[in-house]
Symmetry: C2
Amino acid sequence: MHTDLLAHIARYVALAPAEAQLVRDHLVLQTVPRKAHLLVAGQPCCASYFVLHGCLRMYFITEKGTEQITRFALENWWLADYASLLSQRPSQFFVQAVEATTVSVLDYARQEELLARVPALERYFRLVLQRVAAADQTRPVFQFGLSAEELYHHFVASFPGFAQRVPQYMLASYLGFTPEFLSKIRARPPAGKAGPLGAQIS
Amino acid sequence: MHTDLLAHIARYVALAPAEAQLVRDHLVLQTVPRKAHLLVAGQPCCASYFVLHGCLRMYFITEKGTEQITRFALENWWLADYASLLSQRPSQFFVQAVEATTVSVLDYARQEELLARVPALERYFRLVLQRVAAADQTRPVFQFGLSAEELYHHFVASFPGFAQRVPQYMLASYLGFTPEFLSKIRARPPAGKAGPLGAQIS
């Protein structure tokens, strides 16, 4: 249980066996069917989720009533609404399973206790969050800097497996397109401009 | 020197006097005149900057040749290109002083050594980066969820001092408007819809 998370932690910091056991003791394994929600807007986000298997999406409902996807999380990615987690105010986001998904759940109320007992995890999460910040900073360069068509082809070239795995209408929402516009782009051959530029999908 | 940064750290973690001294020893104080650059695209980002006094902006040049501002940093904010910092590959961003600005500079090569000697800083930066993640996640809710006019009035209501401090053309770039469009919005009275919603400016 939680083996892939412990392996992920081991990439960044070394834990003693007793510390690894403490981590296991503080986690809950949860499997959610496709389309089930881990977080619903209006409720506070109470946990961080590490994807062991499957795929999650994070979205909010715009004033026009459409779903706007802001993040995906595949295997080995953490997902949480950090603003709600920190304030314990109602979240503006939904977190939903795109596929049947298994997650390691780190309850926020128990997180600080765990980190106090296993200080190496402070370093682990600092390094993980640095990568989140790097991805979030880079995203506007593609969003503002590339044409819609270049953005799509850049995304597919960077994450070929991912583009196959996620329904096209979700990909369209994430990229800020209508599904019709995405269909039109997909029907045309790529112009050969945008290659893998090292962006992140969440 | 670096007093405000040490006060900021003390909000999150307690440092022993010897640890605080180690922090001071690892920092460099730098004052840059208005319009001077701390980072130029094409060069790797080699440090994180904590604003003691003044204001920085982070921007990139789009393919159309226009400046797109992605972040501002006022007093008590950290700014760095984390993607470049982590990879030491050339940055895509510029970091420029909007006003004469004084920063505490934490050199990336020395950062890991400092954190190894003062482990409480792992916790400090983890907590700071959680807030960065919270701000980055919340931003699209306003960008996608509000009309351009609502977005501007929300921004001014949330950061009244800031909107006075930054030239209007920079505010327009950050919000994704043309300067002309921002002038038009400013000339109209607010519709009384968007209040302070707790967003962050960086």
